[in-house]
Symmetry: C2
Subunit: 340 residues, 2 copies
DNA sequence: TCGTGACCTTATAACGTTGTACATTACGAA
DNA sequence: TTCGTAATGTACAACGTTATAAGGTCACGA
């Protein structure tokens, strides 16, 4: 590991340290002759800036953190991918951090994760509440990503319009002629804000279609995993009569549900239609492939990074914004059947 | 964003800056009285160290980078998870970087990714060769993770024993009485080292079972994705006679193959048994669930991080090591059938 | 009472970079 | 020739931290 400093380059080129720095930073007032000579020295010695020193001097690291519950959940992995790319466009590097959705780790991330080392934080909290955020002194600029927190808090918030998206999903099932539309992933507690919003969208669609809400068909889950979806589906199939459609509040739940349906020999979509939410890659390839709401992850990431950049530099104290990314209904086999 | 420096704490506690630093760093020779007074000041002011300054002074960032092809591929996402956890145990933070498997980005990662900013690099290259690595001047300590590079190069290398693992997988199919065992993911070129190793294991198992190698049954793929697996499986089914078992060189290929089998109405495992490699989470939950080789990802990550730490501090110039993590054959429905 | 250590604390100087203020040069106009 | 002005380069200090070495304090034995 060779270490070449500005001083070494300066000596080699016969100029001052600051002139080399000026060349490195593309400062305007450097003669072409000097620039060329310095550049040659830079190349010859293979200069690489020491970012610690630069950060110390400028007070900026160009590093942002992305804190999310679980990296190996496909939705978050795909989102992280988008965020990294979006950040690159702004010259930012992303530090990914997992919270496991545990309150204590989330708190740690906001308050202490590599303190004074990140310029900003993109945060997908599960357990943390607004109040917690405001309590923490000296936290970096934060933009909240995703739907777990309700609107109206202390930081910018970027998410899809969950109510509208859920309404669209439910409406799709209604249009297929389904009457007994179950929900897997109903809010187990008041803190599950996403679930509440999606349930609201579901209710609106039912109301519009003049279908009476049957509380039996609303199944809460502990976690949003395949196993929970599978168990919930089993419960639903034991009802009399069973539902003719299921709206799962994320794709993993839906995949679990599909598995149960397959095991029990229930035909999808003819007997039970299934729709998910997230559009993870797996949903395109499972069998039957899964109809789902596809949030525009690219837009989500782009909006979030842009909002964070804004807050980091231009307008740190502007009023919190509420930003919505688009979504799309992707119709696949789990509601439309297999094509010939 | 409040900024509290050691100086502020020192003034507040009525001691020197260095004494505060000593307390922060748990230095031995500080009286309990002083330590307590300083600690109180630290707490009251909410001191957070400036890591840029610390890094500048100590020359270490305690930051390592993990460079892998695609974060949204489940195997890598799960591996990244393990690496982050393993690094935490050593007090290291992991900076995750995606290369897309493109040579140019991989080169960039090794030579210039946040230069002088990371203490070490964990690297899963796809395109890069050993020679490239040695050419790059002043690159940080590197440990190679995964099987894409052959053994015997310029850096430590951590992987599962691909030959042994592939042999075990093939042997499992043999034990089920299968005779026409196809391979999806055979090496398309000489650079696909993993594939070559796995093919070697496959051949050994056939030899041991006295089954003649049929080159028709070896299907190369462009990428290791579901779509490629699906396409390859279609080709295999058109053979006469078709294979009675398929060894896919990763789980995604296998999932693609399963989808084709299901579409064509071929029974798994009775007509065709399928086995994968990686044990991604999806394999436990797909239908039929997928028999696969499960590399010990935790061990893989642990070994890699430990080797990197070793190289970063203790023995930077020791001879390159070749390290193997364990693996396990996980029998599921795609070879064993559904249990009652 | 005065050394003499042992133990604790502090002043000072770096680490490599960039911002500020100033020095130098070139060149056209008076 | 001299001056004014803009263009370009330089010296120095500072960012917040830790390492070094020197200084201070105190208990204790002579």
């Amino acid at each position: 590991m060779v270490r070449v400093r500005l001083k070494d380059v300066a000596d080699h080129a016969g100029v001052s340290v600051k002139t080399v720095s000026n060349v490195v930073n593309n400062w305007e007032y450097v003669t072409d002759a000097t620039r060329e000579r310095v550049q040659k020295a830079l190349d010859e010695l293979g200069y690489r800036p020491n970012l610690s020193a630069r950060s110390l001097r400028t007070g900026r690291t160009n590093l942002i953190a992305l804190a999310l519950p679980r990296l190996h959940e496909p939705y978050f992995a795909e989102l992280a991918d988008c965020v990294v790319r979006a950040a690159e466009d702004h010259g930012l590097t992303v530090l990914i951090s997992q919270t496991d959705g545990r309150r204590e780790r989330e708190q740690q991330v906001v308050s202490g994760f590599r303190p004074q080392f990140i310029d900003g934080l993109l945060f997908s909290p599960l357990a943390l509440e607004w109040d917690d955020l405001e309590e923490i002194p000296g936290h970096p600029p934060v933009v909240l990503l995703g739907e777990r927190l309700a609107a109206g808090g202390a930081a910018d918030h970027v998410a899809v319009d969950n109510v509208a998206a859920a309404q669209r999903a439910t409406q799709h099932l209604v249009e297929l002629g389904r009457k007994r539309i179950a929900v897997i992933g109903a809010p187990p507690s008041k803190t599950a804000r996403t679930a509440s919003l999606r349930l609201e969208g579901y209710k609106r669609a039912l109301r519009k279609a003049r279908i009476r809400l049957d509380k039996q068909l609303l199944l809460p889950v502990n976690q949003l995993h395949r196993a929970d979806g599978a168990a919930a589906m089993a419960t639903l199939l034991d009802l009399a009569p069973p539902p003719d459609a299921v709206f799962c509040f994320n794709d993993l739940l839906a995949l679990g549900a599909l598995r149960t349906l397959q095991e029990r020999g229930v035909a999808v979509p003819s007997e039970v239609a299934v729709i998910g939410f997230d559009d993870i890659e797996e949903s395109r390839f499972c069998s039957p492939s899964l109809t789902t709401i596809s949030p525009d992850k690219k837009a989500l990431a782009g909006l979030a990074v842009a909002a964070l950049v804004q807050r980091m530099s231009v307008a740190p104290d502007a009023a919190p914004q509420e930003l919505h990314a688009g979504f799309e209904l992707v119709e696949r086999e789990s509601t439309m059947g297999r094509r010939a």
